[in-house]
């Protein structure tokens, strides 16, 4: 690794770490500044006496000073402990683990589809600039970009609800079945939620890719490549796309935060038992430890993805290494 690259990597990683630390603190502050403090919410316990509430408050460590709580919180986090859900008294991490496992394939499928479709159509519409194909692709991208995610999901239910499953991850009461049957079933359930994510992202990605490609098409090295006799396909992929990938990678890294938000809405619409739905439930139930844990997880994953995007950028762009 050249010293420039090392420089860059160390800086990016350090920044990611600092960001995560700030996120941790922000997270703590945000949740300790809530009105209707966590203690009052223990009034969920019917007929609770003040003594009991106090006991519970002690159990959740809410009685000590904020600073001690903060240290305890960091200590707990350091040991991988995100606290205990108010609602089901289970460690937040245990609750979230399955949720994350459910969310990842659905979101990943949608994102991958969106990336592939977005890059293709962005590339094609930039290359076919000012032709009917461009107008079609660009306008549909703008439309998909502008539809509210949850609304788009609902529309898909309207359109495809009778052909494809619209709720949950599996056919509820199908017991047994081979692994492949189950996988096929899960994939079927995944189609609509993933499609919703894919479509919203598709719009955004197409527009981003289109403008990145347009900008690249104006670069002199494209003219050079054309002068060299490079054919269309190679020119578009090796020269144009390869360079346009630089802004695209950065923007896609940034769009991870957007994906997380979209996943939340999509999971609510399709009752996909993932982390988004968990956040939704936690909001409804004021399950602050869950909300806090999920929020932390989401934020850190966004930071990590941005970091990965940055590192990928460094790999793609030799100029980074100075």
């Amino acid at each position: 690794m050249r010293s420039g690259t090392l420089d860059y990597v160390v800086k990016r990683v350090a920044f990611a770490l600092v960001t995560i630390f700030i996120v941790l603190t922000f997270n703590f502050v945000l949740f300790r500044l809530l009105p209707g403090s966590a203690v009052t919410d223990l009034s969920r316990v019917p007929n609770a006496s003040p003594a009991l509430r106090e006991a519970l408050a002690r159990e959740f460590g809410l009685a000590s000073s904020k600073w001690d709580q903060y240290l305890a919180y960091l200590d707990q986090l350091f040991h991988g402990n995100l606290g205990v859900s108010y609602v089901n008294q289970q460690p937040v991490w245990d609750n979230l683990r399955t949720d994350v496992a459910n969310t990842v394939p659905m979101v990943a499928l949608g994102t991958v589809v969106a990336v592939i479709a977005g890059i293709t159509s962005g590339l094609v519409s930039a290359w076919r600039r000012r032709t009917p194909a461009d107008y079609l692709l660009t306008n549909s991208a703008i439309a998909f970009y502008s539809f509210p995610t949850q609304w788009l999901g609902l529309m898909l239910i309207v359109l495809f609800g009778s052909y494809l499953p619209t709720t949950g991850m599996t056919t509820p009461f199908q017991i047994g079945g081979s692994f492949w049957q189950q996988a096929g079933d899960e994939l079927q359930h995944m189609i609509l939620p993933s499609l919703t994510i894919a479509l919203t992202l598709y719009g955004q990605y197409t527009l981003v890719v289109r403008s990145a490609v347009l900008e690249t098409l104006g670069e002199d090295y494209v003219l050079t490549a054309r002068a060299k006799g490079v054919r269309t396909r190679r020119l578009l992929t090796r020269h144009v796309l390869r360079n346009a990938m630089l802004p695209i990678v950065t923007l896609m890294g940034l769009s991870f935060g957007y994906i997380v938000g979209g996943a939340l809405l999509v999971e609510t619409v399709f009752t996909w038992p993932g982390i988004g739905l968990a956040v939704y439930q936690a909001v409804l139930q004021r399950d602050y430890p869950m909300l806090q844990g999920a929020f932390l997880l989401l934020t850190i994953s966004v930071v990590v993805f941005n970091l990965l995007a940055d590192l990928l950028y460094a790999r793609l762009d030799p100029r980074v290494s100075g």
């Binding site: 090295y221 003219l223 054309r226 060299k228 006799g229 390869r242 630089l246 100029r319």
Partner: protein
């Protein structure tokens, strides 16, 4: 038969407003094998457009008419696809902003080897080896092939661009202001290189520049362009000493000399707008010796001496006046 034969070349650009910009207006050129040919003119007069048209490299908004023959083969009539077959194997090009002529994410070696691979001139392996040799040829160590463009200085990039242009052993090399962005000393290095290569490889070179002295010393013949047209074509010596077009003459007069000590006078006004039709001679508004006829008649390029053509009514005996002051021996010379 000349290596490059251009006949009545026109290029129009469709503007967003719906209008058309007539950037090249009936240019005709003959460049002989092994010749170093210069194309001079002010900014915006259509030099780049002309050389791009020679390779069919125009943007989609352009439409072209006329014929371009390289080594007898028609480049333009087959459209982009037809033109592509001639690119780099017959005609190669060195661009002005060599800084940007290389993709920043690929190594120099890769980019030099690419045309050899895609034209089937050499296998991938051979192409890489050849890329190193080419770099050596232009005075860069072969090992530098593994480096990226941003790790090269401007001069090195320009040399690499030349190496890249030579990769498929083209017959014709088009160099569009190859030294404009460079420092004087580096410019001298590059010019020396071009001259050497032309000599050693029997290359035919078309050198586009707005720098008169440069053409004077590198090229054998040169064409002066004005407003999308050729104003004058001649051997460089004739251009300077027996110029038959006021524009050429005024252009020389506007160029300071290191030790000449002549008066330097600028050409008043600015070049014509090419998106509007021009009646008469395009240079008339700025010309110091325009006559009445210039306002109405468009002067055609005509032979005024052996191997010397000019598009000026003053050369026409019918105009009656033929007193072209010689820029080479300025009347009010150095004080």
């Amino acid at each position: 038969m000349a290596l490059l034969e251009v006949r009545d070349l026109h290029v129009w650009f469709a503007l967003p407003s719906g209008r058309e910009l007539h950037a090249v207006k009936g240019v005709g050129l003959d460049v002989e094998r092994g010749e170093l040919f210069g194309l001079i003119g002010e900014s915006g007069c259509g030099k780049t457009t002309t050389v791009l048209a020679l390779m069919g490299l125009l943007p989609s908004s352009a439409s072209v008419a006329g014929s371009v023959r390289v080594d007898g083969a028609d480049v333009l009539s087959g459209g982009e696809k037809g033109a592509r077959a001639h690119r780099w194997t017959e005609t190669a090009m060195v661009f002005q902003g060599s800084m940007n002529a290389f993709s920043p994410v690929k190594t120099i070696g890769w980019q030099i080897a690419e045309p050899m691979e895609i034209h089937g001139v050499a296998s991938r392996r051979a192409a890489r080896a050849r890329a190193g040799e080419l770099l050596e040829l232009v005075g860069i160590p072969a090992a530098a092939a593994r480096r990226y463009p941003h790790q090269f200085s401007g001069g090195m990039r320009q040399r690499a661009a030349i190496a890249m242009a030579l990769s498929c052993e083209p017959k014709l090399l088009l160099a569009d202001e190859p030294t404009t962005a460079l420092d004087v000393m580096v410019q001298a290095q590059i010019l020396e290189l071009l001259q050497r290569l032309a000599r050693e490889l029997h290359l035919t070179v078309v050198l586009v520049t707005h720098d008169l002295p440069l053409v004077a010393h590198i090229c054998d013949r040169a064409a002066v362009m004005y407003g999308g047209e050729i104003a004058e074509v001649a051997a460089v010596d004739a251009l300077y000493h027996e110029s038959r077009h006021p524009y050429t003459r005024m252009l020389f007069a506007a160029t300071p000399e290191l030790l000449g000590g002549k008066d330097v006078t600028s050409i008043p006004g600015s070049p014509p707008r090419l998106d509007q039709p021009i009646v008469g001679c395009a240079f008339r508004p700025r010309c110091d010796s325009a006559v009445v006829r210039c306002a109405t008649d468009h002067p055609a390029l005509a032979e005024v001496a052996r191997g010397h053509e000019a598009a000026c009514h003053l050369n026409d005996p019918a105009t009656g006046v033929l007193s072209v002051p010689d820029a080479g021996q300025p009347a009010g010379g150095a004080g």
